[in-house]
């Protein structure tokens, strides 16, 4: 035992057990101790708050069942300390709390010694990094595969092929409407790929005029043009051994298309004003919200470039075609903004969910995120209610708008009602509860209407496909 440990142990011995308990409960970091059998012997108040587990339920249980950390299986930090005697400090991991949330934390470990210096167990302290992690992601935009939230079957099919696509190093084209998460998928591919330790460099091709885009992508040499005093590396050079994400590729001019084709074909480029050819060791992921094959037919996009980037194509469905993800995404954004804004919003009311399930979301997931962010400004705590939503989503405004195309041609009230219910049931895989939620009515009301309107339901009721 070193002098520091001995001294701190000595001063603790002068405290009564009650004083030690008060002391440990007063610190803001979570702390637990284990005995040599890996059973929790102490669990302080901050540990209760971070994990959501009361101390009386934690004490006496195996620490892995209490702590539920990403490293319990295989790389347990406390086991390392117990085996080697060496403490570990500030290791970033995550735990699953009692609500099922993934909570990022940093942990430190040390041996726990008895009065005569023998090892009697281990101690682990941990700090909740939820807010820090959310801010870090916000700044670095370093979202990973695990950040893509979906239970929709079309998205699941994409998840299935993503690891193979990532491993292949091939050029990928991601197609999807604005706000469907094209960049999130591009980042996921990068961070799953062997190039994950290299840089991920995103360029929005549509935002820049040709001359700027050229110098942005390929860089320039000193003296290439007036004002070019020094060399400036382009995005392709900056992304060396990493990935270049070319967003809005459908918006680049025919001249730029030729230059991009050369990079993709020969993996070389020349900076503006440069004489030497530079080798580009980059993977290219392109994305667009346009139909490139149609643009090729209309001679607005080079066919040869299209074939070069269309090696593997991922088509991201718009949010209106994966409405089953809306409650899950709402949950995710509420948790995220709670962390970012240090708020304690419990969730959204059933009426809000009903409105969101009916909304067409032309701006897709980003629009949903903005709606929740808007609600967070107005909602101080508790549930997000209808009046917290942007005005255009308020029911008074919504009824003035057609709910969706199929409800357009008005027949009798009963016909319109029948059509609305049928559409909601179909969209929700014949799950009555989900359809009722979407329609903003109680499930008994839905059953009554299904019966009175003579709607025939399939034998399977869709419950098995929902949580």
């Amino acid at each position: 035992m070193n002098e520091h440990e001995h001294n701190s142990g000595g001063s603790f011995r002068s405290l009564s057990p009650g004083q030690v308990a008060t002391l440990l409960d007063s610190i803001t970091d979570g702390l637990f101790t284990v005995d040599l059998e890996w059973r929790v012997t102490w669990f302080n108040r901050a540990a209760e708050q971070i994990t959501g587990i009361p101390s009386e339920e934690a004490v006496g249980k195996p620490c892995c069942d209490v702590f539920r950390a990403s490293i319990c299986e295989g790389n347990c930090a406390l086991r390392h300390t117990m085996d080697t005697g060496k403490p570990i400090s500030s290791l970033a991991i995550y735990i699953i709390n009692a609500d099922g949330d993934r909570v990022p934390i940093s942990i430190s470990t040390a041996l726990l010694r008895g009065g005569d210096g023998e090892v009697i167990g281990g101690v682990e302290t941990f700090r909740d990094l939820s807010q820090v992690e959310e801010l870090r992601k916000e700044i670095a935009r370093r979202h990973t595969f695990a950040d893509i939230i979906s239970k929709n079957h079309r998205m699941q099919q994409l998840f299935n092929i993503l690891p193979e696509i990532a491993a292949s190093d091939t050029t990928v084209l991601i197609q999807g409407d604005s706000g469907t998460g094209k960049e999130l998928f591009a980042r996921a591919i990068h961070y799953l790929s062997p190039r994950k330790d290299g840089p991920f460099v995103a360029v929005s091709c549509g935002a820049l005029p040709d001359t700027l885009l050229e110098s942005e992508l390929f860089g320039y040499k000193a003296g290439a043009f007036t004002g070019a005093r020094g060399d400036k590396p382009g995005r392709f050079a900056l992304a060396d051994r990493g990935t270049v994400f070319l967003d809005e590729i459908g918006d680049v001019s025919p001249a730029m298309q030729v230059r991009l084709l050369r990079v993709l074909q020969e993996r070389t480029f020349e900076p503006l004003g440069g004489t030497q050819t530079v080798h580009a060791d980059v993977r290219v992921i392109a994305a667009t919200n346009r139909d490139l094959s149609e643009m090729v037919e209309k001679d607005k996009f080079r066919r040869d470039l299209f074939y070069r980037i269309n090696v593997v194509r991922l088509a991201l469905p718009p949010l209106r075609e994966r409405r089953d993800d809306i409650p899950l995404l709402v949950d995710h954004f509420v948790a995220r903004f709670n962390r970012l804004r240090s708020k304690d919003v419990a969730g959204v009311s059933p009426e809000v969910i009903a409105i969101l399930m009916r909304h067409e979301f032309p701006g897709n997931v980003r629009e949903l995120e903005n709606i929740i962010e808007h609600a967070f400004v107005l909602c101080a705590g508790g549930m997000i209610e209808v009046h917290h939503l942007p005005e255009e989503l308020h029911p008074a405004r919504q009824t003035a708008l057609p709910l969706h195309a199929s409800a357009g041609p008005a027949g009798t009230l009963a016909e319109v009602e029948r059509q609305l219910i049928l559409d909601a049931l179909r969209r929700n895989g014949w799950n009555r509860l989900a359809a009722a939620r979407e329609l903003g009515i109680h499930k008994s009301t839905l059953f009554r209407k299904v019966k009175s309107l003579g709607i025939e339901l399939p034998k399977t009721d869709g419950r098995s496909s929902r949580p």
Binding site: T51, D65, K151, F159, L328
Partner: protein, 127 residues
């Protein structure tokens, strides 16, 4: 009916999101007819639901599981019984006898939590 249980040191793996091995047990009329093990350490989280579907899993009895993964598994039609702890054999016995709601098999802090309680109600009788 095929039941999957993530395992670690002969116990239920504490976190399904990072579990490395899966025990697959097949039941017919309440009797175990086959048992196999599968490595899942290379399967990233968003692919885990699809991987279980490929393995023809009907029920997943697991320890802690993050909510997004839980939703993906349920959305894929898999019945998930989360936050279970204990030795593999005692958990499988409890599953057959419909005793998974036994508090001794619940992970600390998870008794009576709404979002998972409904999956413990009543016995889980194998078909």
């Amino acid at each position: 009916m095929k039941v999957a249980v993530p395992t670690w040191n002969d116990r239920i793996s504490p976190v399904f999101d990072t579990a490395q091995r899966l025990l697959l047990v097949e039941f017919e009329n309440g009797t175990e007819v086959a048992r196999a093990e599968e490595a899942i350490n290379q399967i990233p989280i968003p692919r885990r639901a699809a991987a279980l579907i490929e393995l023809k899993v009907d029920v997943l009895v697991c320890g802690a599981v993050s909510r997004p993964l839980f939703a993906m598994l349920s959305g894929a039609g898999i019945t998930v019984v989360p936050f279970v702890s204990g030795g593999i054999d005692e958990v499988l016995d409890a599953f057959i006898e419909g005793r998974l709601s036994d508090p001794r098999l619940c992970m600390p802090g998870c008794r009576g939590r709404g979002w998972r309680r409904r999956f413990r109600r009543g016995p889980q009788r194998p078909r």
